[in-house]
Structure formats: structure tokens, C-alpha cells
Symmetry: C2
Subunit: 149 residues, 2 copies
Amino acid sequence: MNPQNIEKVKEVFSKFLEEKQFRKTPERFAIVDEIYSIKEHFNAQWLYGRMKERNYRVSKATVYNTLDVLLEAKLIRKHHYGDEQQIFYEKSYFDKQHDHIIMMDSGEIIEFCDPRIQTIKQTMEDIFGIEIESHSLYFYAKKKNTSNN
Amino acid sequence: MNPQNIEKVKEVFSKFLEEKQFRKTPERFAIVDEIYSIKEHFNAQWLYGRMKERNYRVSKATVYNTLDVLLEAKLIRKHHYGDEQQIFYEKSYFDKQHDHIIMMDSGEIIEFCDPRIQTIKQTMEDIFGIEIESHSLYFYAKKKNTSNN
DNA sequence: ATCCCTGCAAACGCTTTGCACATGA
DNA sequence: TCATGTGCAAAGCGTTTGCAGGGAT
């Protein structure tokens, strides 16, 4: 992600922290910096390790805490998929909502958008009289033409 | 679930074990018995605790192992949702495929079926030239009319 | 008689917590 | 100043593993 985009994200984050009366600590901004330099999905441990490696002085507690704050600020999204017990995150600012296809053989993750998911959501809201705040959708797939059938 | 249905499930399981040349141990059938007497979603720990409570002599290792076998036999389904790090299961024989709405306030889980998910799946298979084996879809919702806005 | 399956306990990996210190407001 | 945020280490919790003994085939 290019530098002025990261600045934009930090600005949004800064405003969020102000509104919530949370403190603007250097650790929090350092973590945003790191996260927004990552393309793929990552988990808390991995992020912590990466920051240690790069000689940031952060603790696991702070990483976990900041991830929660960023989630609340909607600057990251949370994921659960496959057999993993762990939670993955991805940056979400500048991205449009999307869902994922998990390639079971390679582990590759494909993003996609399909408007029909919104129509299903709408139907469910009407049927059950509820308000759907979010959804998670994963397809688990294999490459075609493996010629084993 | 009524007794003859459980018998039917055990029969299917028995056949599966034969085909795979897995052993028909009493523990495995005891676990099926338990699982098919549970309505809701459950996790491995909880199932283990429940069996202990009822004086079955099973170990955690066996519970986890059997859950994997039952998954392979498609007699249960696996779930991941919300903030839970843990894996939930539900019996799946006699049930048709369905997805879930998680009520965020009460924890209630609503099941639903919508054929449009299949059409989305089809589209993705065509676009990416893949074969989708399974999917997971959760909606996270709140009751309407809470009048707090 | 095999060797798969089981029980038990210890190890694992990710996350959370407790506490003392540091620091943003 | 002082409550919030941080670092560190230990604890928590669901799951997995290693190993010795047991039971299905």
C-alpha cells in the first residue's frame, strides 16, 4: 500500500481514537503501519513475531489489544476458516466488502464479490424480522481437471 | 431424535467403518449415541464432559479421534463462528444442508436454506474454473425494533 | 497374533490475564 | 496528576501428541 494511503488510514484511526477518548500511543500507530504493509491475511502471533523481528518494542498484550481497537474502528476485518483454530485478520480500509474462496490444495485465497449475497441477506431480514450486521462466507474449493475421477 | 433414527445412523456408520477398514469399537458407537441425542451445536470438550458425567469411559483423545471419523463419514458437520476459537459440531444425517444466523444478543442460532447460495457457488466455479466442495455462511444479526436508534 | 484404537497425561499454540511501571491527556 | 496503556510472564483453554496397554479383526 502506498505511503499516502497509510497516512490516510492513520488519520482515520487518529480521529477514531479521539472520538472514543482512547490514547494515541506510538505502539498503536506502529501496528497500523505494519498491518497496512501486509497484503495477505495474518494472525496476531505472526504480526507480533514480525514486529519483534523488525525490532519494534511491542508486547503481545499490546498487539492483541490494538487488534481489538482496530476491529472496532473497522480498519481491519476478522476471519475464521478451514481447520484453523486461530483468528486471521486483514486490512479493510480502501477495500470493498468481499468474500473468500479457500483453495484446499494450495492454501491460496481468492477474493470475490457477489451482489446476490445481499439479496439473501435482505430476504432473511424480512423473514425473521432481524437486522443482519455482518456475514461471513467461505467457499472451499479445489482446482478442476485434476483428472482423478 | 427417535430411537430408530439413531439405529439408522449407526448402521450407516457401521457400513462406513467397514468400507474404510476402521474398527468398530464400542466407544465410537457410544459417541454417536450421545451426539445424536444432542439438538444444538456442541464442541469436543463439552461432549467429553457430558460423557464423563454420564459415566461413559472415554478419553479426550477418543472423542477427538471419533469426531474426525464422523466428519469423514459426513455424519456430523463442523462449524466456526463468532469470536469463538473453538470448533463446533452438529449432527448432519437426516438434516438437509443449511446455513446459520447467529443472534448476537441472545446467542440463539437460526437455521435457514436459500437456493441462491448454490447459484453463487455455480458462478464462482465457472469464473475461476474450480470445484467448490463446501461452503460456510453465517449471518450475524440483532433483533429489530430495539428502538435504540 | 496383529496392529489399530484407547486412556492418560503432558505438550502445544493461540489468547487472555495480573501486576507493576510508563506515559498520554 | 492519574487513569489508561504497556511489557512481561504466567495462566487459560481447546486441541494434539506420545506412549504403553487393550481389544477388534
